[in-house]
């Protein structure tokens, strides 16, 4: 679905387009081949950011441009309302960069996404990569296509940095990635782990999903339930940071959010790992184990692929692409 949205649209819509972070990231996105169709900043209609025209509202921009995806760089106080504006105007996917957004406005933005059938990724999301096709935001920085190679592994992570780190390692190990989703590290996010896994599974290139979880909240338990209920098609390898935090007082904020959230329920990382293991996920403690388990899952697939098409023995990353 995300692949289609990026592939078919005229280009990205950038909200909060004239801010410092937006200008820098838009430049990087364009330099790496991403199409940026239009920007929106209230009160700045008629201006240009390089070659990108700026509009005063999303509705106004969509009259001129066929955009379905918005990268939202609006500052924290305005980011959620900007997302509501985007969904109401017909945008299908919003990636929100800001962190520390007002929770009540975020709940409203999520309500708006649900009402319009849209998807909100974030807040505090670094973005999305559909390897070889494009990206929303700047995972991979200035030179993403030197860091990421196309292949069958989807990465869904609550940590933006670890999304890119894992995808980069997968390339270095000779495989490649289909979609990377940085869900955002806040206590309340638009798309949760289980939803993210189901989303990347819709991508035709995905055959395995790597998940990076954190100590706060219950998202990993939810994912375990989804796997146990056979709502997840492909194998999941789960790496959850913060095992050592189980022995620390709950108020120490390991990870991006306090472990004791508003619901009052706290799950230890060990409980999350156990639930995922019982549900059938492969659980790893570090990226070395991740590499070994990925090899277990991918090599048989690669062999099958080679048997089917013996002439396609090329570089490691190309081989990984072949097994799609």
């Amino acid at each position: 679905m995300i692949r289609d949205l990026l592939d078919r649209s005229e280009g990205l819509l950038i909200q909060g387009a004239t801010g410092r972070q937006a200008r820098m990231e838009v430049e990087w996105m364009q330099a790496s081949g991403e199409k940026v169709a239009a920007g929106v900043t209230p009160g700045r209609r008629g201006e240009f950011m390089g070659s990108v025209p700026i509009y005063g509202s999303v509705r106004e921009a969509l009259i001129q441009h066929d955009c379905t995806v918005s990268m939202n760089y609006a500052p924290p106080a305005y980011a959620c309302d900007a997302a509501i504006e985007a969904f109401e105007a017909g945008i299908r996917l919003v990636v929100m960069s800001a962190e520390h957004v007002p929770l009540h406005r975020l709940a409203m933005a999520l309500q708006s996404a649900r009402n319009s059938g849209g998807i909100l990724i974030g807040p505090n999301s670094q973005g999305i990569v559909v390897t070889g096709v494009g990206r929303v935001g700047c995972p991979g920085g200035m030179d993403p296509w030197d860091r990421f190679a196309p292949g069958p592994v989807a990465v869904v992570s609550r940590s933006g940095g670890m999304t890119s780190e894992i995808a980069m390692l997968i390339r270095a190990w000779g495989w490649g990635t289909s979609v990377h989703l940085a869900l955002g590290g806040g206590p309340m996010v638009g798309t949760r782990l289980a939803e993210g896994v189901r989303l990347v599974e819709q991508d035709p290139a995905t055959q395995v999903t790597v998940v990076f979880g954190e100590p706060a909240g219950l998202q990993e338990l939810e994912l375990a339930e989804a796997i146990g209920a056979a709502e997840v098609k492909f194998p999941v390898i789960a790496l959850i940071g913060g095992r050592a935090a189980d022995t620390m007082p709950a108020h120490i904020p390991f990870g991006h959010a306090p472990r004791a959230g508003n619901s009052g329920t706290v799950a230890f990382v060990s409980q999350k790992l156990e639930a995922l293991r019982r549900a059938g996920a492969v659980v790893v403690n570090d990226t070395r184990q991740l590499r070994a388990e990925l090899a277990n899952l991918l090599v048989p697939r690669l062999e099958t692929s080679k048997t089917a098409r013996p002439s396609s023995s090329q570089s490691p990353s190309t081989s990984a692409t072949d097994c799609q």
Partner: protein
């Protein structure tokens, strides 16, 4: 309580004994308490949940018991919550209910909970009826009636009282951008409902306008912030750096007691990975840090200085995941300043820096020139490689560098 009373929710009559009250207040306290009538309830003067569970709420039938409870709870409150203020309330007799609205992180919406039971030890998630409220607005009446039906509120007078409280609470929840408003227990006297236990928390990232609708700081003292205790001087220094540049993203720095390695890796996920790995290898990270790309040199310097200044560290790991949204030459500049300010000597305490991201060549050169004893690695080293290398450096140093 005054805030709740202003919302139109009945609360018990009470006397507040501030934290700075004189120690010879006994006669005055008894005079005022006598007007409330015994028995009395003594509790810490904060709106945090769980006070009853921790034994900080005491019912006192006698004047002697009252003074003793005031003294004990004042001491306990000072230790636990950092404020020794206490309140003496009239004791309200009646059945106990539970009412709350929370911004539920799992549901991602406000959730209203109601139960005909309540009080100390009540588990609302297990026992209360609930409904998800619309974000940013009041629920339609029929949803509240639905919760009342589910919870078994049949008596008309009782039902009307609970309905009234829930509407007032929902209004306040929205305008104050609360994350939790909990009344536990609400006591039903047979005539009226009185909110006896109150806990409230508010979104620290809420819009400025919301603060006009919130209670004062004492009343909204958060249970979580109360639990955190006193920050270390290094945590305070980072907090000051954050406050000095409020328009830039904050850097988070948390010290872990008894640690032996300064773990200064960002972002948060990579830091967690290193934390676990070092712990698995028998080391104990002395701190945890998370820094957004736009935080700037001053905040990074403050966090790195704090980490390098933790007493007793045997080594330090500095670096970032390969996010590449942060200019790593800023990170190396911050590290050079932090080494100078903290007095940490990389010749004696091994410091390993993973430099990967925009301007990494310039960052490497700066470190080589400014702090040649710092061990620099690049993106070819995984975070686990960095941990292994640091451990080897530390052990080698401690063996006398043979």
């Amino acid at each position: 309580m005054a805030w709740l009373s202003n919302l139109g929710v009945s609360v018990p009559s009470l006397i507040t004994i501030p934290a700075d009250a004189r120690s010879d207040l006994a006669t005055e306290v008894l005079d005022r308490a006598t007007k409330l009538g015994s028995p009395w309830v003594v509790k810490p003067d904060i709106a945090a949940g769980g006070k009853g569970n921790k034994g900080y709420v005491q019912v006192c039938p006698t004047a002697h018991g009252l003074l003793e409870a005031v003294r004990r709870i004042s001491e306990q409150a000072s230790e636990e919550f950092g404020s020794s203020g206490v309140v003496i309330e009239e004791y309200v007799e009646g059945a106990e209910w539970y009412i709350s609205i929370t911004m539920d992180e799992e549901t991602r919406a406000p959730v209203l909970r109601l139960s005909l039971e309540g009080g100390v030890g009540f588990d609302p998630e297990a026992a209360a009826s609930f409904c998800v409220l619309p974000a940013g607005g009041l629920p339609p009446d029929h949803r509240i009636h639905g919760v009342l039906d589910d919870a078994g509120f049949v008596d008309r007078q009782m039902r009307q009282a609970a309905f009234d409280i829930m509407v007032r609470l929902a209004s306040a929840f929205v305008v104050s951008e609360a994350t939790m408003l909990e009344l536990n227990p609400v006591k039903w006297t047979g005539q009226k409902a009185v909110a006896v236990g109150v806990a409230c928390e508010f979104d620290v990232d809420g819009r400025p306008v919301a603060s006009a609708y919130r209670p004062n700081a004492r009343e909204s003292h958060s249970a979580m912030s109360a639990l955190k205790g006193q920050p270390t001087e290094r945590e305070l220094a980072v907090a000051q750096a954050n406050a000095a540049e409020p328009n830039l993203p904050a850097v988070s720095f948390v010290e872990v007691p008894g640690g032996d390695v300064a773990l200064l890796v960002s972002g948060g996920g990579g830091s967690l990975l290193c934390f676990d790995y070092l712990t698995d290898k028998g080391f104990r990270p002395a701190c945890y840090m998370d820094s957004s790309p736009g935080a700037g040199v001053a905040k990074r310097t403050a966090a790195l200085t704090a980490g390098l200044s933790v007493p007793g560290i045997r080594g330090a790991l500095i670096g970032s995941v390969v996010v590449s949204l942060a200019d790593v030459s800023e990170s190396s500049a911050a590290l050079l300043k932090a080494i100078a300010v903290s007095g940490c000597d990389p010749e004696k305490i091994p410091v390993l820096a993973r430099i990967a991201g925009p301007n990494e060549d310039a960052a490497r050169r700066a470190l080589l020139q400014g702090a040649p004893a710092v061990h620099v690695v690049g993106r070819e080293s995984t975070l686990e490689d960095c941990c292994d290398l640091l451990i080897a450096l530390v052990l080698n140093q401690e063996r006398g560098g043979e």
